[in-house]
C-alpha cells in the first residue's frame, strides 16, 4: 500500500490537471467566505467588535477560504456515484483499500486548488493590506496540525455520508442537511466569536467548530495560548469519533453491497 501511494498521488494529480476547468469552477463556487467578508467588513467599519477590526475580519475570512479549500474533499459524491453505478466493485478487487485511493485523489488535487486560489488571495491582500500579521511560531505549528485534524474529520464525515449510499437513496440529501448545519456552526459564514451566546454554548458540544474555526482562529492568531491546547484536544476527540464511525458504516455497507460483480 505504501509503495503504491506515490503512484496514486500521480494519478490524482493527472486527473486534477485533466479536469482543470471543472476544478476552477468547483473552487470558485465555494467562495461564500468572500461574501461574508464584505458584509462583516462593513459591520466592522462601524466600530471594532470585541477587538475585531476590518483587518482581523479580512484575515479571518481569507484564512477561512484557504482552510476550507485545503481541508475539503468530495469523496461523498465519489462514493455515492460509484456505489450506485457499481464502479466500486473493481475497486474492491484491488489489493488495497478503496478509501486509500480516494485519500490519494483528494490530497493530490490540493496543490492545484491552492494555485487556483492564489489570485483571490492576492486580490484580498490588495484590498485590505492591513490584514497582514506576523504569526507566532507556536500558532503556526498548532494551526497546521489542527488543519490536518480538520481535514481528517471532514473526510471521515464524507465517508460516513457516502457509505450511507449502501443503505439509502437519500444519502446525498442527508449530507446536504449536514452541510447546512456545518456552514452555520463551523465559522464558515460568520465568526463564532460574534455569534449569540446560546449558539456558542451549543457549539461547544458539536463537531463543526473542530472542522474549520479551530485551525482558522489558531492560524490567525486569535486564540489565547491557554485555550489552544483545549481546542486541539477537542479536535482529537472528534477525529477519533468520526474515523471510528466512518470505519463502522463503511464495513457494514460493504458487507451488504450487492452491485454487479461484488
Amino acid at each position: 500500500m505504501f509503495r503504491a501511494f506515490p503512484t496514486l498521488l500521480r494519478i490524482g494529480l493527472a486527473e486534477a490537471v485533466a479536469y482543470r476547468a471543472e476544478l476552477v469552477i468547483w473552487v470558485l463556487t465555494a467562495t461564500a467566505p468572500l461574501i461574508s467578508m464584505f458584509i462583516w467588513d462593513r459591520v466592522a467599519a462601524e466600530g471594532p467588535l470585541g477587538g475585531w477590526g476590518q483587518g482581523e475580519m479580512a484575515r479571518y475570512f481569507l484564512l477561512t477560504l484557504i482552510v476550507r479549500h485545503i481541508t475539503s474533499s468530495w469523496v461523498v459524491w465519489e462514493l455515492n456515484e460509484n456505489i450506485r453505478t457499481g464502479g466500486l466493485s473493481p475497486m474492491l478487487l484491488r489489493p488495497m483499500h478503496p478509501l486509500v485511493f480516494f485519500v490519494a485523489q483528494n490530497l493530490a488535487a490540493m496543490p492545484l486548488r491552492a494555485v487556483i486560489l492564489a489570485p483571490l488571495m492576492v486580490g484580498v491582500l490588495w484590498w485590505r493590506p492591513e490584514l497582514v500579521w506576523t504569526p507566532e511560531p507556536w500558532t503556526l505549528v498548532l494551526g497546521l496540525v489542527s488543519a490536518v485534524f480538520a481535514w481528517a474529520i471532514a473526510f471521515s464525515a464524507q465517508v460516513i455520508f457516502g457509505s450511507l449510499a449502501f443503505f439509502s437513496q437519500q444519502s446525498l440529501g442527508l449530507f446536504n442537511v449536514y452541510f447546512g448545519l456545518w456552514s452555520l456552526g463551523s465559522g464558515y459564514l460568520f465568526p463564532l466569536e460574534l455569534a449569540p451566546d446560546w449558539l456558542r454554548q451549543l457549539l461547544l458540544w458539536l463537531p463543526f467548530r473542530a472542522t474549520l474555526a479551530t485551525p482558522v482562529e489558531l492560524l490567525a492568531g486569535l486564540v489565547a495560548r491557554e485555550d489552544a491546547l483545549g481546542l486541539i484536544a477537542a479536535q482529537l476527540v472528534w477525529v477519533g469519533v468520526f474515523v471510528g464511525l466512518a470505519a463502522m458504516t463503511w464495513n457494514l455497507g460493504v458487507k451488504r453491497h450487492e452491485a454487479v460483480g461484488a
Binding site: 469552477i25 461574508s36 464584505f38 452555520l184
Partner: protein, 259 residues
C-alpha cells in the same frame, strides 16, 4: 396555436408529472421552511452586532432575504431544470426535435421541464416578505411597485439564463457554469448597498441579483426613487431583448446533430 394555449399546455404537463409524486410535497415544504431559516440565520447574527447597517435595519434587510428566497425558488422551479434539459438536448442531439416543434423554441425550452413543486420556496419567501412589509408599514403603492420590480428582476434572471443556454451551442457543457452563477447570486441575500465599488457594480449590472432582491425591498420601504425604479424596469426590458438576440443568433450557429 396561440401563446396562451402553449404556455398552459406546457405548465399542465409539468404539473401532471409533479402530481405523480405528490407525497413529495410535504417533504419539499419542510425543506423550504428549513432552507428559509438557514438563509436568514446569518442576517440575525450580523444585525445582533450592528442594529443598522448602511441604512438598513434587520426588518428591512429581511425583505431582501424574502425576495432572495423567491428568486431562488423561481430559479429552481423554472430556470435551472430547463437549463439542464437544454444542455442535455444539445449534448445528445435531441435538440433537433425541439426545433421541429411548431412553437417558439425559446418559449418551449424555458418551460418544458418546469418543477412546480419548487414554487413552495416562493410561498415561503412571500411569507418572509409579507412579515417584513408589515414591519416597515408598506402601503398599496409600495407593495405594487415592489411586485413590479420583482417581476422585472425575475425577467433579468431569466434573460441571464437564456444567455447561458445560448452559450451551450458553442461550449456544450455549461451546466457547471450555472453552479458558478448560482454561487455569485448568493451575494444577493444581502442588500446590495452593503457592498462597495466593483462588487456592487457587478451585482447590479452584470449578475443583476441586486436588482432582483434589493430594489424591490427599497420599493417596499418607499425609498426607491421613481427614476431608479423606471431605470430598473427599462434595464430588464433591454436585457430581455439582448438575450433574445443572443438566443436567435446562437440558434443560427447550431449545426444540428443530424446534418
Amino acid at each position: 396555436m396561440s401563446l396562451g394555449v402553449s404556455i398552459l399546455a406546457l405548465m399542465r404537463a409539468s404539473l401532471l408529472t409533479t402530481m405523480r409524486y405528490r407525497a413529495n410535497f410535504i417533504g419539499e415544504a419542510a425543506m423550504a421552511v428549513a432552507w428559509a431559516a438557514w438563509t436568514t440565520a446569518p442576517l440575525f447574527v450580523v444585525f445582533d452586532q450592528a442594529p443598522t447597517l448602511a441604512g438598513w435595519t434587520a426588518e428591512e434587510a429581511l425583505a431582501v432575504v424574502g425576495f432572495f428566497i423567491i428568486a431562488q425558488g423561481v430559479l429552481e422551479a423554472l430556470v435551472d431544470p430547463n437549463l439542464r434539459a437544454v444542455v442535455e438536448h444539445v449534448r445528445q442531439g435531441t435538440f433537433d426535435f425541439v426545433l421541429l416543434k411548431p412553437i417558439d423554441a425559446q418559449l418551449y425550452v424555458s418551460l418544458h421541464r418546469t418543477e412546480p413543486l419548487k414554487l413552495v420556496h416562493c410561498l415561503v419567501g412571500a411569507g418572509v416578505v409579507a412579515y417584513a412589509a408589515r414591519a416597515v408599514d408598506a402601503g398599496a403603492v409600495e407593495l405594487l411597485s415592489a411586485t413590479l420590480l420583482m417581476l422585472a428582476g425575475l425577467t433579468l434572471l431569466h434573460s441571464l439564463w437564456t444567455v447561458v443556454v445560448s452559450s451551450a451551442f458553442f461550449f456544450v457543457k455549461v451546466d457547471n457554469l450555472s453552479w458558478l452563477i448560482r454561487a455569485g447570486l448568493d451575494a444577493g441575500r444581502w442588500p446590495v448597498s452593503l457592498y462597495r465599488g466593483v462588487v456592487r457594480f457587478v451585482l447590479t449590472f452584470v449578475l443583476p441579483i441586486g436588482l432582483v432582491t434589493t430594489y424591490p425591498a427599497l420599493a417596499l420601504r418607499g425609498e426607491l426613487k421613481p427614476s431608479a425604479g423606471l431605470g430598473a424596469l427599462g434595464f430588464a426590458v433591454i436585457f430581455a431583448g439582448l438575450a433574445r438576440i443572443a438566443w436567435t443568433q446562437s440558434l443560427r450557429r447550431y449545426s444540428s446533430a443530424s446534418s
